[in-house]
Subunit: 163 residues, 2 copies
């Protein structure tokens, strides 16, 4: 394997969201208002959703499809100093893959209704995984440059810096 | 966008792990023993790691590159009944993308030493993101079919069912 290896992924669905542009979009799902989004799963994958309505929280793995460049040192939303891109959640990354933990409200056939979202409208979805607190919560964690920023900032929304 | 849309990702590095095969590999990072792995980031991306050593936990997003098929209803490790693949973490998924929260021990240039791993040797890495408890922990969660299984099972390790 080398840098030249390529992996090809195809969307399993589309996320339909009220957030149409960076400005005003929450930077993390916990900063979301009461906005509702829907996840449309393509028909051929619907069977893979069986019993998902019994889960309240799911990971969505998706493509930052409006990201077309990246820098290794960037100014993330929460700071005006540069940081290594892998210490941030910025969308402009070497592989523009997004990860969000969202709340599942209900399911009707191939449509999931979700809340607690930070995702743009028409985002291509790659995968869904169940969120399991016993596996996924961590308590004693060091959070680097974000530690102080999380205490002080009120800046919860995106701007246009990654356009 | 449709099913025919393709997204191409290239590895940013390789995960070197003592787990060479499914048998004996933990099914989630919390079941890991004291095994140590290293993440080798390709030189061209090393700058993106700046200050990552100040974080104790990171998400790794990677390719289940030994998965070459999928089924929408599968028997996951923790059950002998079938479940929708999107309610499981099974490696055989429409897009074989893996997600692990691991503990970062140290960094030397482009090499990260990590613990709490559930990843095969020579796995292609796509992305690293910081784990931030305030953003990523969830407390009141419904976990569907996994709820009862988590209480009763002692089966923490992989077998060959997804080979």
């Amino acid at each position: 394997m080398s840098l030249k290896t390529k992996f090809i992924f195809k969307p399993i669905g589309i996320i339909h969201s009220p957030y149409k542009e960076p400005s005003g979009t929450p930077i993390q799902t916990i900063y979301s208002d009461n906005a509702i989004a829907t996840v449309e799963i393509f028909d051929e994958f619907t069977e893979g959703l069986d019993d998902i309505e019994k889960f309240s929280h799911i990971y969505l793995i998706y493509v930052f499809d409006r990201s077309h460049r990246f820098e290794l040192k960037i100014k993330p939303f929460l700071d005006n100093k540069t940081h290594g891109v892998f210490t941030t959640r910025a969308p402009n990354r070497p592989n523009p893959i997004g990860l969000s933990i969202v709340r599942l409200i209900n399911r009707k056939k191939n449509i999931l209704t979700i809340k607690e979202i930070d995702i743009f409208d028409k985002t291509p979805l790659l995968d869904i995984k169940p969120f399991i607190p016993f596996w996924d919560n961590r308590m004693k964690v060091k959070t680097g440059w974000l530690t102080e920023k999380m205490k002080k900032t009120k800046k919860y929304f995106s701007d246009n810096r990654f356009k």
